[in-house]
Every structure is written in structure tokens, then in C-alpha cells.
Subunit: 387 residues, 2 copies
């Protein structure tokens, strides 16, 4: 089990006809308390979807008791009608669950610009169907995990056990993965008894070290939401250090699952920059490499083209001397101190898991970015998706 | 004719065995004066190739009488040996042409990390062969244009006639095209009589409005060089305004030729942002869209997916209100004031020339970025190139 493992939570995922596939597309997760503490992190894209605007506002008080999520439409750039759809969605859930609309988080995922009358009716019908099916068992949790998927090939879930409490999560995301969150929806539940401010601090630390370091294709979404709800039903006031540590671990687990399911990818690449002057600079260097289409196509071709790594590093402001940089791929140092080292044909890039290690020799900081290669399948899936 | 049309210039391009294809790979361009005024703009990539470091230094005095260019190897990250190769190249040309080595610009293009003994001998042999063939006719200009090509499918040249003088150019570049120069080598000759400071000012304005606005694949090169040499042989002290205007026009012509020959592309996309608060913000918005792999794959699929345009705009700091943005594709407004407008199936994206127009409604500034779509052929060519 996942989101229904922590005490005090029920969930459901139903098919309401929004997805063309006929699959589950509306999910409701309810926190039955006794606490209703909540926190969330949203996309930093300035063009945000209506559900993001709504949820950001209603979470200002740190209280939420339910999350409604739909796949099959992003409800982004859908005008006043779209904003009204989000509000009606919260109203409908609140009415059925005897809550205030301002305690209902709303999340949508799918094509930008989609959110017409048919979409609205699908979501509203779905909320009713889902509320009727709410349960705290494994099947309910699985249906919820399935109901938020779009181009994902597998459901993503994670569970961690703390001292006297647990943390469960469901996630979706398979492309448009970039910083300021990877493109995704994540719902995390816990029965630990923590205040919303404590949840917020822990969640920001966890997303900073996990989802913010997935950069599959450099494209930032309009709908990203990571919501954390705490029921307090375990009666355990969790140690904040332990809770944060478990939350970081859980989010990193989910981040790896997102990377592994990235659209069309054939390599899961971890780009680690070490010897950086600061952690921010290590992130910047790894991210610059992860954004290079030339690097990403080379890895697809199993070509340890370290020149493309250095060309990407050179676009950053990080502290380094080019003639001191080492680059290793899958354990083989192909560039030492800015000159060719081991023959490139000694590098085996055929495994899906690929490691690039950059040593800037400029300090002690280290950070990794998770990315993917750029493949024919990526081009195919993203040129054929949508209209 | 092109670079040999302005009086006072000779050129040659020869095959010296550096390129595996056996094609022309070493080019020499000589300015016979009477003036030796010169200016150049180089890559802003901090990991720059040895020839860039050399040429930047020897041009500090605004004087150069020859350019040696090679394809088949970038001589970048090749250590002290590579730096010595560049110096030996300048020495060899200077000796044969009775110049100072510090008056010889050197440019290389090809794979990063390539620049071994065989490469060095190829370049040095090529310089000797080329100097022996120097001529001021059309054939010589054509051989020079051919000799700098790598993955280019066609030679790029341009010519403009001023009042009493002319400006000619050859260029290479077919990928790794991004700001802080597109990846390329360009040699521009003129017989106008201008000081190096005047050339420098005109060249910076021209590159800012041309090559800096080509962003084919977001990847910045280590070897970019645009060199401008003025012989003064026309005896005409050109009007600076006219000269700059012609130079801008010539460079924009070459920029369009680079875009049209981008590796694997099936669409030449002009992304124009209008109604921006400043020109810089118009550039930033157009560039953000040009960097979105999701947008680029959609165009490949002839899919007018305007949501991906807006998602990219939202990653910038430019002034705008999302709900006021209009987006048109090939003349059809698909998003008006942040909501769906014309049906997407009324947009015809089958022509290679594609226009995306974004109106931010935030001011009066306009700027365009030239980019390409992301295709199967791009992935193929860049995963198969090199080792």
C-alpha cells in the first residue's frame, strides 16, 4: 500500500470519460484527520494552470483535507471558464465530503488548452463516482496511482516507515521533466502529527534534493504540484529530522522512478559534478550538461563524446579552469585535466544506467542531476502526442 | 565571387588529408592591403579552442593580414600540444607569406579533442599547398568556401556592394548553433578603408542582430569565430552607417543560410516576439521557445501545440500577463488573450518555413530568433557523428 498506509486516509480512482483511452482519470484523496495540516510546492512556471492558482491560494492557511486530481486535460490557458471549472470541482468535492471548498486541493494534468464543457462534466462526474468508492485499502491506493497517469507507462508509488508513523506517496510524470519542479503531480500522505509549517519546511528540503534535480528534457510544466497531507492519526509527533530525512529519501525514490519512465528514453543518466566551489555551481554545471541536446544524442548513440560535456560546462558561470577538468563516463576517465585520456572505445555505454562524473577541481561541493538521452522515440512520442 | 570580390584579397582551399572524406580541409585567406585593419568576434564559451585563444590575443592590436582555417578537427581540449599546433600553423603561414605570426588568425572546426600529430602535419602541409594556390578568382573563393565545411550540406557565401567598395563572406555551420555565436566560422572581406575600431563596432552590431539570433539546437560551440578583414584597396573610406547596414544585411543572409542547413531539420522556424517591454525581453522570450524540445518536436509533427509555446514563455522573467498573450502560427491566431482561438486544424505547418508570432501586449519592442525543429534526422546525425 502507499497513500492509504498512513492512518486517516482514504482514496479512490475512477474512469469518468476524460481520457480518450477510457482509463481511470479522476482521483480523490481524503484526509480524515484528526489533523488537517498540509503543505505543497508548485511549479515556478509563470504560466501556471488554474488548479495551481487555486491550490496555492487555498493552502495559504496550511490546511487541506482533500485532493482532487484529474488526468486527460491540464485546464491551463482555458480562460475564465477553466478557472470556474476548478472552483466547481472543489465545491463539488466539498459538498460530498462535508468540507469547505477552501480545504480542497485541485490538480490537473494533460494537454494545455484542454478544459471545455465536456472536460468539466467529466471531472464533476468523476468526483462523485470517486467519493462513492473511497476506501483505505490497497486497491483504492492502486486506483489512485493509476488515475493520475498520462503518458506514463507505469504507476509510481513509494512508502517509508518512520518511528510510529509512515509516509506514502503516488506520483505521475513521464516527460516535460525539468526544474522548478519536474512535470508531475505527487500526493504524499502521512499519519505523523506535524504542523503545516513543519511540513512545509520538510517538503521544500525534499523537493530541492529530488524533483528539482530531475531534468529529463529541460521543459518546465504549467501544472506541477507536490502536496503533503498529515492526518496526525498515528498520534506520533514525529522527530523533524527523521521525518525530513525519510521524506527526502521517498522523494528521491520517486524522482528516480520518473526518470526511469521518461518518454522514449533509452538511458537514465546521472550527471554528477564534484570539486565545485558551491553546491549551486555543481547543480548548474550538471544541469547545463543535462540540457545539451548534442550530449544527449551522443549518449543515445553510445558515444562517449566528452567534448560535448566540456562545451556545455563552458556555458556556465561556475568557477573552474578548463584545463583542470576531468570527465569520466561509466567509471572510465576519458578526459583528464582538459586533455584526452582513456581511449573512448574503452567506455561501455550500452547499459541503461549511465554515470557521468565531472571533477572541476575548484572546491568541495558535489551535486547530481538525473536526466535522459534524446532518442528517436522521444521525437516520435512528442511529435505525435496531442492534436 | 565572394571573399575575393573585394580588391586586395586572395584565397585558396585544398585537401590535406585531415577530413576522412578526402575533401578540402585547409583554407588560407590573405589580405594584400594596403590596409591590414581587422576585427573579430569569438565564442563566449569559456571552454574555448586553442585557435580562439590565439586569434583573440593576436587581434588585440586590430591588425591581421591572413586567416588559416581547417575543418576535420577542432583542436580544442588537446593540451599544450594543441596550443603549439596553432602557433606552428601561424608560424608556417607567416613564413610563406612574409608576415608576422601575430598577423595570422587561426580557426579550426571539427570534433573536440581531435588534434594529434597527424592533424598537425595535415594542417601544416595544407598551409603550404594552399599558399601555393592563392588566387583572387571565383574558383579560389569557392574552394575556400568548401574547405571549411564539416557536416554542412552546402557552402554558404554572401556578397554586398557598397558605394565604391564591396563586402564578401564565406561561412560554415550546420549544427551546434546557439547564441554567443552560432557554431560557425565566418570570414568577411572588404576593400573599404576603415580603421579596426570602426570594423569592430560594425561587426559587433552585425553579429548581435544575426548570428546571435540563430539558436538551432541551444548548443554553444567552443570554436566560433567571425573575422572581418579590410584591405582599403578600394581607396574608399566607407560611410560607417552604410557599411554597418550592409554588414548587418550580409550577416543576416548568412544566418538564414546556416538555419536552412541545420542538421536534420525539416522546418526553419522564425519565432518573433512583439509587444515586449524591451528588445532584450523579446529576445529572451523567443529564445526560450526556441530551446523547448517539446515545442520543437511538435513542429516536426506539424502540430500547432501553442500550449508548449506558453509553457516556455512562462520560464522567462520578461514582463507580461499570461492572460493577455496571443500566439499565432503561420498567420493563424491559435491563442488569443491566453485562451484557445482558431481551431488548431486550420494551421498548415507543412511548409519548411514556419512563423510563430507571440504578442506579449507589454510594450513596443520586437525581436526574432531563427531556430529549427527537432527531428529523427537530428537525433540520427548527432548520435552517429564522431567516434
Amino acid at each position: 500500500m502507499t497513500i492509504t498506509t498512513p492512518k486517516g486516509f482514504r482514496a479512490a480512482g475512477v474512469a469518468a470519460g476524460i481520457k480518450k483511452s477510457g482509463g481511470r482519470d479522476v482521483v480523490v484523496v481524503v484526509n480524515d484527520g484528526p489533523s488537517a495540516a498540509a503543505a505543497a510546492v508548485f511549479t515556478s512556471n509563470r504560466c501556471e494552470a488554474h488548479p495551481v492558482t487555486w491550490s496555492r491560494r487555498i493552502l495559504e492557511d496550511g490546511v487541506a483535507s482533500a485532493v482532487v486530481l484529474n488526468s486527460g486535460g491540464a485546464n491551463c490557458f482555458t480562460g475564465a471558464f477553466g478557472a470556474e471549472t476548478t472552483e466547481l470541482t472543489a465545491n463539488r468535492a466539498a459538498e460530498l465530503l462535508q468540507l469547505q471548498p477552501s480545504d480542497v486541493i485541485v490538480c490537473s494534468t494533460g494537454l494545455i488548452g484542454s478544459g471545455d464543457e465536456k472536460f468539466r462534466q467529466g471531472v464533476l462526474t468523476g468526483v462523485k463516482l470517486a467519493v462513492a468508492e473511497l476506501a483505505d485499502d490497497e486497491t483504492a491506493a492502486q486506483h489512485a496511482a493509476d488515475g493520475i497517469l498520462t503518458t506514463d507507462s507505469v504507476a509510481k508509488t513509494a512508502l517509508r516507515e518512520g518511528t510510529g508513523y509512515s509516509i506514502g506517496a503516488i506520483a505521475k510524470g513521464a516527460g516535460m521533466l525539468a526544474p522548478g519542479l519536474a512535470t508531475m503531480l505527487v500526493v504524499i500522505t502521512t499519519d505523523a502529527d506535524l504542523e503545516s509549517a513543519q511540513l512545509d519546511t520538510a517538503l521544500r528540503e525534499a523537493t530541492r534534493l529530488s524533483f528539482d534535480r530531475v531534468d529529463s528534457d529541460g521543459a518546465m510544466s504549467t501544472n506541477d504540484t507536490v502536496a503533503l497531507l498529515a492526518s496526525g492519526a498515528s498520534g506520533t509527533a514525529a522527530d523533524e529530522g527523521e521525518f525530513t530525512s525519510l521524506l527526502v529519501d521517498l522523494c528521491q525514490d520517486l524522482a528516480r522512478q520518473l526518470q526511469a519512465d521518461a518518454e522514449g528514453a533509452s538511458h537514465d543518466i546521472t550527471i554528477t559534478t564534484t570539486g565545485a566551489a558551491t553546491e549551486d555551481e555543481a547543480v548548474a554545471v550538471s544541469r547545463a550538461v543535462s540540457r545539451s541536446n548534442l550530449f544527449k544524442t551522443a549518449i543515445f548513440g553510445n558515444d562517449p563524446n566528452w567534448g560535448r560535456v566540456l562545451a556545455a560546462i563552458g556555458t556556465t558561470d561556475a568557477q573552474f579552469v578548463p584545463q583542470q577538468i576531468d570527465v569520466s563516463m561509466n567509471g572510465v576517465m576519458v578526459c583528464r585535466a582538459g586533455t584526452p585520456d582513456a581511449p573512448v572505445d574503452t567506455v561501455d555505454l550500452t547499459p541503461r544506467k549511465t554515470a557521468v562524473l565531472i571533477d572541476l577541481h575548484a572546491g568541495d561541493a558535489t551535486a547530481s542531476i538525473l536526466t535522459n538521452d534524446l532518442t528517436h522515440d522521444y521525437v516520435h512520442e512528442n511529435s505525435a502526442y496531442s492534436s
